[in-house]
Amino acid sequence: MRFGVVIFPGSNGDHDALKSVELGLQEEVVPIWHKDTSIDNCDALLIPGGFTYGDYLRAGAIARFSPIMEAVTEFAERGGPILGICNGFQILTEAGLLPGALAKNSELTFRCDWIHVRVESDRTPFTATLDPGTVLRLPIAHGQGRYVVSESQLAELEANDQIVFRYTDSQGIEHDDYNPNGSTAHIAGVCNERGNVVGLMPHPERAYDALIGGDEGLKILRSVVDAGLSTVRA
């Protein structure tokens, strides 16, 4: 399987993403520069974290105008699996590929920590091999990760099974104390209606080997390989 990692000016999780596929999954991976206009034969895309365009205006607001985003949107429309991580999640919401928005953390602090999330849905390619209820230990590093949706949108997300990850304690129990940024309904990650585009604030690509503090992020990345989905090559 061939992954693509989309790199914008200000991305800083791009090499983590490349290494997690290369060393963690031992699959093929190519960098894709934001000025490129096509996606070269990739089966899955990772939109990494960082501070693209300095987070000017709003996190992710400017990156969505990069030339590559048209190809990313086409890839999504064809059903290709896309995982937006942290700033990548912010970019995908700003681009309208994912619902909701990411606002400043409720405590106004930049949170750099290890947290737990619970898998809520196995209908996405990135969770297809994980049972709902599975708890994963992952790192976070963000200042604007508070997931915001209106009440009616939240009901829609629930009804459509679009909530993919929630912040919990290590036992998979939700408490406000274990919500690191004040996200609505403890939401850590969501998907589009079709389920092929997923975004989350935690960093699975920074947890691909016990040597770097944890390897449970690899389960998310491996899922898309093991699921053996008939993804459309772009």
């Binding site: 606002a103 400043k104 508070r146 004040g182």
Partner: protein, 94 residues
């Protein structure tokens, strides 16, 4: 760019962006608490936002307003969590 006579004039659009009423505004809360600790016990609420000045050419004040409204919907604000107000001023002819 063009030889056509440009009959349009310049307008200044002032755009005030704020979080929607229901959305928690931790910045505003922190500023409110700062004011209170300075002794302004009467401060009831603070909402923090953004102020943008856009200078643009337009056919009329209404045209300028319509253009900036589109800009707000497409880029300047995020409709999921923000609202905006626009104030248009005609600038002197150059």
């Amino acid at each position: 760019m063009t030889d056509a006579v440009d009959t349009r004039r310049s307008y200044l659009a002032e755009v005030y962006v704020s979080l929607k009423p229901g959305i928690n505004d931790p910045q505003g809360l922190a500023i409110r608490d700062g004011l209170r600790s300075l002794g302004y016990a009467g401060v009831e609420a603070v909402r923090a936002g953004k102020y943008l000045r856009v200078t643009l050419a337009a056919d009329s004040s209404d045209d300028a307003h319509a253009q900036v409204t589109r800009m707000c919907d497409q880029l300047l604000t995020n409709p999921v969590m923000e609202t905006y107000e626009i104030s248009i001023t005609a600038l002197n002819d150059h």
